[in-house]
Amino acid sequence: MGRIGLALKVLFSGAFAKQVATIGAAPAIAHVPAERKPVEPPKPVRSDAVTLLATLQREARLLDFFKEPIGDYSDAQIGAAVRDVHRMTNDVLDRMFAIQPLLDGVEGSTVNVPGDADAGQYKFTGNVGDRRPDSGELMHHGWRATKCDLPKWTGAGDSALVIAPAEVEVKGS
């Protein structure tokens, strides 16, 4: 698969990438097992950004963490809470985006920049001349999403902007 194909795979959602990847796979024998067909996703009626926030709050309490004023807490108290938030946020991000370093090179080592690389893949700093540089020291390896699988929201109406529902406990027997 060429560079553009790869980019498509990276950029588009898993479902679309599956379709892209299967285009051109011609049947070679008489009995061909059915290809995986993704379920038709329900029509989204809220922004994926809200769904992402809702997931990070539900699974990692990330909003609670950021919305709480931390000025009065000791570092130890913050540290106690943040460990789990950190671990679970990382789990969510990995599951949805399968995040990988963009470059495999070790930070601090010298890297070569291919002449045909996408402009968006590199950020050049320091002593940069008029011509695009072909090598330099790797300061940060970058990140990339290798998939983009957000949960699908099936609700409707006013709750489209709800990130976390209010919790109400019923007391008594």
């Binding site: 097992p33 059915a34 539900r58 913050i78 106690a80 460990r83 929201w153």
Partner: protein
């Protein structure tokens, strides 16, 4: 229609997994199905496993579409990740561990009894129905991914604990067929499936690790149960073969017990060090935090201490978080002493019989030491001329063994018992998904050829027969047990049980008490007059309606028994008239489904 896929389904106590492999591929390439499911109200996502939890929604939920799935609208219940999450918030409306109830013969498995011990205004379901719902979900998720390969046309293998008896297997099968799985469904034992996963992982390399005369112990400690299996490596006409020799009892002790034990200990720490009493909602967080602590502390190079933090419930996360440091030494002592205590090979698990009234619930083990259960299992299946079986190799399965120290402890215990210490099989483990993967690999092999583990019936089975004699008012007639299926009876074979005919009354329903044994090695036709409670375990009774046929003059007919195990491993027992062609099939006593 031709099957496209081999499918393996692990219907677990706490998680269900579906693995598949393309049958037309050159080699078995086993994949896991991404199972579409609700992860929160109105929120759908895909996960590798479907948590075995069922949430019973409120009646208003159907209208608002809270539990809608692409394949079904206006649902009043949900299964999977969302139900697991609801179990903390709504324990009275959440069903868990249905599988443990499925093999509990003291309750009506068709009765609407779950959630157990909850008020009557909550709708209830039977263990069979709950299992069916999990499988229905997997079937629907499969259909969404592979609409052109209906699951009813595929080669499907479903796993059950080795310790499931014939009746629990029959109930599992019933739930599976009701969910839309094919009639050709094959049930295999979970420890065997774990072994197949290892074989798949090793390829032909397995013949280098094992040789004729070796004995493999499969030690599968899941969330709720411990399942032991012994496999012999034999040479048959120059070919190495695997033969399952024995399976253990159904032991209701597993990783959940360990996590709860740890949670109790940590809650004491909170009380002592911080003067904090955790509320029930926090206890669930505590349970999950303790599992993470166990895995971290008991890993190969685990830290000295691990912080267990319980977040506050309100939006004040940091202010509400309470934490204590848990010490590796203490956790290791607690779990090793409680569940892996050092013992002698001759030790037996202590069974406490509580006297008087006991609440009917799941029969959890009173003996929690896995080591003692293992000692009893090995002693019971002794090699000839020896006090016990002596495994040369061990295959671990189940999430508990993510804590490497617990594996090491079991290996050390066996090294203390035997001159030749058994060693763990090499190779990568996928402790969470091995059973489903192995089942798919088995299904693929069954179709395309490849290594099979032989074994036959893991238990012998007995029919209870009231002995003739003077009836004493008020006292039951003495009972004898007639062996109808010998241990090791091969699939696809049939046994005519020898012996005198047994008299039955025509036109009436004949009911027999039914027993199984993993201990005794009797031959068909052998009749036991006495047995100890540990030798024979009573399971569901069997019954048949004896219809009168032409040419039958007497109301009283002599019959003999005939047992069969077909190629799919399904057990059948027939009463055969000794003087004509008439025959009646015995079925496990089935009560009406109360919740349909």
């Amino acid at each position: 229609m031709t099957a496209d896929f081999a499918i393996g389904i692990d219907l677990g106590t706490t998680n269900c997994v579906l693995a598949y492999a393309n049958l037309t591929a050159e080699k078995a390439d086993v994949q896991l199905l991404d199972i579409l499911q609700l992860v929160a109200p109105n929120t759908i996502d895909q996960k590798k496993s479907l948590p075995s939890f069922l949430h019973l929604g409120m009646s208003s939920d159907a209208e608002s579409g809270t539990w809608n799935l692409p394949w079904e609208q206006a649902r009043t219940y949900a299964v999977g990740e969302v139900a697991r999450r609801q179990s903390a918030d709504l324990p009275q409306r959440t069903i868990s561990a249905a599988k443990s109830w499925l093999c509990h013969s003291k309750v009506d498995r068709h009765g609407a009894i779950l959630p157990w011990n909850t008020p009557d205004d909550v709708q209830k379901l039977s263990p069979v129905t709950v299992s069916r719902r999990y499988l229905e979900h997997l079937v629907a998720a499969w259909k969404g991914e592979f609409p052109d390969s209906p699951i009813a046309d595929q080669h499907v293998v479903l796993t059950v604990p080795a310790s499931f008896d014939a009746s629990a297997r029959e109930l599992t099968r019933e739930a599976a067929l009701a969910a839309g799985l094919p009639e050709s469904l094959v049930l295999i034992e979970e420890p065997q499936a774990a072994t197949y996963a290892w074989l798949d992982n090793q390829g032909d390399h397995w013949r280098k690790q094992l040789q004729a005369g070796n004995q493999l112990l499969v030690c599968d400690v899941g969330g709720g149960t411990t399942d032991l299996t012994l496999v012999d490596v034999v040479d048959e006409m120059g070919e190495l073969q695997l033969r399952r020799r024995a399976v253990g009892d159904h032991l209701l002790v597993g990783g959940d017990n360990m996590d709860l034990t740890l949670a109790f200990y940590v809650s004491q720490l909170f009380k002592e060090q911080k003067n904090i009493d955790l509320d029930p909602w926090q206890s669930v967080s505590l349970w999950h935090a303790c599992r993470a602590a166990k895995e971290a502390l008991l890993a190969e190079d685990g830290p000295e201490t691990f912080p267990v933090a319980i977040p506050g419930r309100s939006s004040r996360l940091i202010g509400g978080t309470v934490a204590v440091d848990v010490n590796r030494e203490a956790v290791s002592d607690l779990l090793v002493n409680g569940f892996f205590a050092a013992c002698q090979l001759s030790d037996k698990p202590t069974r406490q019989r509580s006297s008087g009234f006991q609440e009917l619930g799941l029969p959890f083990e009173t003996e929690t030491a896995v080591t003692k259960h293992l000692a009893a299992f090995l002693a019971r299946n002794a090699n000839e001329g020896s006090a016990s079986a002596q495994p040369s190799h061990v295959l671990f399965n189940g999430g508990v063994f993510k804590a490497a120290k617990l594996k090491a402890r079991l290996l050390q215990q066996m090294a203390d018992w035997f001159a030749d210490a058994p060693r763990e099989l090499d190779g990568n483990r996928d402790l969470d998904y091995a059973v489903a993967r192995g089942a798919a690999f088995y299904a693929w092999n069954k179709h395309n050829g490849g290594i099979r583990i032989r074994g036959g019936a893991a238990r012998s089975y007995y029919i209870g027969i009231e002995t003739a004699g003077l009836a004493i008012p008020g006292a039951p007639r003495p009972l004898s047990a007639l062996c109808v299926v010998p241990h090791g009876m091969e699939e696809g074979s049939q046994t005519d049980v020898p012996g005198d005919g047994i008299g039955l009354v025509v036109g009436e329903r004949a009911t027999f008490r039914f027993f199984s044994s993993v201990v005794r090695k009797d031959q068909p036709g052998q009749r036991l007059q006495h047995w100890s409670e540990d030798e024979l375990v009573e399971t569901d009774s069997m019954e048949a309606e004896l219809t009168k046929t032409d040419g039958m003059e007497d109301d009283y007919v002599p019959v003999r028994f005939e047992s069969k195990i077909n190629e799919l491993g399904i057990f059948e027992l027939w009463c055969v008239h000794t003087e004509s062609d008439a025959r009646w099939k015995l079925e496990f006593s089935v009560r009406d489904d109360a919740d349909v």
